[in-house]
């Protein structure tokens, strides 16, 4: 027993060590970036095309080409530095860590100046001034200001300034999205009560929907370019170039081309008052740990319920495939191929967003069903193999004793088939536990999502990442131990 525990600990420790190494790489610092940019002739800038129109996105007419007002600003800046700009795709939430790692020289993608970010990166002067716009369903007169959001479910993008503002508003239940269209789709469907996002996004993705309306603007902010704090010379060069673009009207021309110009852009130099975000946490304090505990509970609940769906569904499918008539066999076969042959992420999207007009599931139910229906396909194949491994003589012996076919199946064949399938079931459960992190795309905050949120909060991926890894291991390792014991106890040694 002691040996087993030590082995478990050693395994856990080495995983944490690896996580640490990965996170440590983030801290790699880069010095004279401006010189390197000039030497290589390339300014690498980070952004996320998922942010969509009009920031930086794929040209609908030419999928290989990026367009957007930020693409034009990047090109103009590079030209003024005597180099050319190269876009580097990055998940929006990890733009800053990516900058710290040295993957990119600058970050420009609707990145707002917030107190939390200012502690990590150096910002150039702003290139755009925006308002935070609160959008509600048309006819909803109960929401006018942030204070009205108490007790409401409000959507936004994770890690954005709007997210910070919502976190500082008491009583708000926040739903986090990764794309700019989905929160407004959910608002229309009634899954959330409001969306708070930058007015550029609100106007293009929210107010274009006839059923949605603007409640009010509840704040403002600025977009600026982020560089590594050590790159003072690069910062100065970009500030100078941006100043030139503002002075000679190039910024205005670009913004006008994208219909983003407004009088308030004349006040770009003024800066804005810091948004009232929550105080940045330096370490994992008690509230953070509480959030982690809650997210762990969500992960456990979703995984367990989804596994129950998968086992029940898989059982029915495997029985249909082995004992059903031709149409039933065919239908079960199609199910297995479709659900096994397409990404679970896609299935979650379809179930939650795609089917919303006809079937409005809440996020938790959609997560359980989505994962469960997907894993049912895998379970079905597992059980089918198990059923086929039971010799036909077993059924005959049961029938010869007078059992009905149903009894023979339930009392004799299934127990043996499930024993054959057991290691695979445990394996699938562990895989499901980890795959449950995918449900964050439909706004469920589970363990991995909580980790990314906390990482942004405490400005480190190291501690939250390690904690997250330990929690997953704490869930999966006992499971595999249990499965191994069960297997030893239940499966008779073959002759």
């Amino acid at each position: 027993m002691g040996g087993k525990l030590r082995r478990a600990l050693r395994r856990t420790c080495s995983s944490v060590f690896v996580c640490g190494l990965l996170a440590g790489a983030v801290l790699a610092s880069h010095g004279a970036t401006l010189e390197r940019v000039r030497e290589s002739g390339v300014l690498r800038w980070g952004g996320d095309v998922q942010g969509g129109e009009p920031y930086a996105f794929q040209d609908p007419a030419d999928g290989d080409r990026l367009i957007g007002f930020e693409v034009e600003i990047a090109d103009a800046l590079a030209r003024r530095l005597g180099v050319h700009a190269e876009f580097v795709q990055n998940d929006w939430l990890t733009l800053v860590p990516s900058l710290e790692r040295g993957n990119v020289d600058i970050v420009m993608n609707g990145l707002e100046i917030t107190p939390a970010r200012r502690g990590r990166v150096a910002f150039t002067r702003p290139y755009y001034r925006f308002r935070e716009t609160l959008v509600v369903r048309r006819g909803d007169t109960s929401i006018h200001a942030l204070a009205d959001l108490n007790g409401r479910r409000v959507g936004t993008l994770g890690g954005s300034q709007a997210h910070e503002m919502l976190r500082a508003t008491p009583g708000v239940e926040i739903a986090l999205y990764e794309g700019v269209d989905e929160p407004y789709a959910d608002l229309e469907q009634g899954r959330i009560d409001a969306v708070l996002l930058d007015h550029i996004i609100a106007e293009r993705y929210g107010l274009s929907r006839p059923e949605l309306a603007k409640a009010s603007d509840v704040g403002e902010g600025v977009y600026a370019i982020a560089v590594r704090p050590a790159d003072a010379s690069l910062l100065a060069a970009i500030d100078a170039a941006l100043g030139g673009m503002i002075a000679d009207g190039e910024i205005e021309r670009i913004l006008k081309r994208w219909k983003l110009w407004s009088e308030e852009q004349l006040r770009l130099g003024e800066g804005v008052a810091d948004v009232a975000g929550p105080a940045p946490a330096r370490v994992l304090d008690r509230p953070q740990l509480w959030l982690f505990a809650r997210a762990t509970a969500v992960t456990v609940a979703i995984s367990s319920l989804a596994m129950a769906v998968a086992v029940a569904g898989g059982l029915l499918l495997s029985l249909a495939r082995r004992y059903g008539g031709r149409p039933l066999r065919f239908a079960a076969g199609v199910y297995v191929e479709v659900f096994r042959g397409t990404p679970v992420l896609l299935q979650l999207y379809v179930l939650y967003f795609g089917l919303a007009p006809v079937l409005r599931l809440d996020a938790f139910t959609a997560a359980v069903l989505g994962l469960g229906l997907n894993y049912a396909a895998y379970e079905a194949e597992l059980y089918r193999a198990g059923l086929e491994a039971v010799p036909v003589g077993q059924t005959e012996a049961a029938l010869a004793l007078g059992m009905s076919r149903r009894q023979a199946l339930r009392r004799v064949v299934l127990p043996q088939a499930l024993r054959v399938a057991l290691p695979g079931i445990a394996n699938d459960f562990i895989a499901l536990l980890k795959d449950s992190s995918l449900v964050s795309v439909i706004t469920v905050v589970e363990l991995t999502k909580q980790m990314t949120i906390t990482a942004v909060d405490v400005r480190s991926w190291l501690v939250p990442g390690a904690l997250c890894a330990i929690l997953y291991l704490a869930l999966s390792y006992p499971l595999s131990l249990f499965a191994r014991r069960l297997e030893r106890r239940l499966v008779p040694v073959p002759k």
């Binding site: 005959e396 012996a397 029938l399």
Partner: protein, 250 residues
């Protein structure tokens, strides 16, 4: 043996596609009778036995068994009730035992009386324990099948069939899968049953055993009964040339 027939087969035949496995079988088995079915390999002996409890449905003729009538074309689904009634009255012992590996030896025997006959667990268990004593395995009740020798497993399988108190017991080459040194223990259990008046049909290659235990014998060759009579007649004074040749080989 009081002559009251428990099993009656009329013109039973089995055709699988082109192949005629059994043809036009007629025979009766009386209560308390022990009948040996002998014949060369592939002559249809197992099919005959499996036809009687409809594990292998025959394709022509009819079987009357323990007061029920079996005809060709019955379905496991539609005629479940009839088949269940027949099978609870006709026990079967297989060549390779087919014990349930996930259940202990005792649970193997308790299962059907409890689940099929609906006996209370305690009663089914008591019945099983008596049978374990009878087949000499009282010490092994809690053992799992894979820990038992072949001879022990087959004795559990016999107990399992007997636990249903069947009117007739069908034994399909019960010792063929066993080492020669393990056959004796199974044969002696069967001989005890015969002595106690259990109706049995035994498909076997053990001619001396059949000669000793069986009252009557059927000789099956190429799917037909070529000869039947008392064990003494068949084994001592076979009339047919083919029987003589077969017995000579055996």
């Amino acid at each position: 043996m009081n002559g009251e027939p428990i099993i009656r087969a009329h013109g039973v035949g089995l055709r699988l596609g082109e192949q005629e496995i059994l043809r036009d079988l007629d025979f009766e088995i009386a209560r308390g009778e022990v009948v040996a079915v002998v014949g060369p390999s592939g002559s249809g002996k197992s099919s005959l036995l499996r036809g009687l409890n409809y594990l292998t449905p025959f394709t022509s003729g009819e079987v009357e068994i323990a007061g029920h009538r079996l005809l060709p074309g019955l379905s496991e689904g539609r005629d479940a009730e009839l088949l269940r009634s027949v099978r609870t009255k006709v026990g079967m012992v297989f060549q390779s035992f087919h014990l349930f590996p996930h259940l202990s030896a005792l649970a193997n025997v308790v299962e059907a009386p409890q689940r099929v006959l609906g006996l209370p667990h305690a009663e089914a268990r008591q019945r099983a324990e008596e049978l374990f004593a009878r087949v000499g395995l009282s010490a092994y009740a809690d053992a799992y099948p894979h820990t038992l020798s072949g001879g022990q497993q087959q004795r559990v399988a016999i107990a399992r069939a007997l636990a249903m108190r069947p009117a007739a017991l069908l034994l399909d080459e019960p010792t063929s899968a066993l080492d020669p040194r393990l056959r004796g223990e199974v044969l002696s259990v069967i001989a005890d049953l015969a002595g106690a008046g259990q109706t049995m049909i035994i498909v076997t290659h053990e001619i001396p055993f059949a000669r000793r235990v069986a009252h009557r014998a059927l000789v099956l060759v190429g799917g037909s009964i070529i000869e039947s009579g008392t064990a003494e007649e068949i084994f001592e004074r076979p009339r047919s040339e083919e029987t003589r040749r077969f017995l000579g080989d055996g």
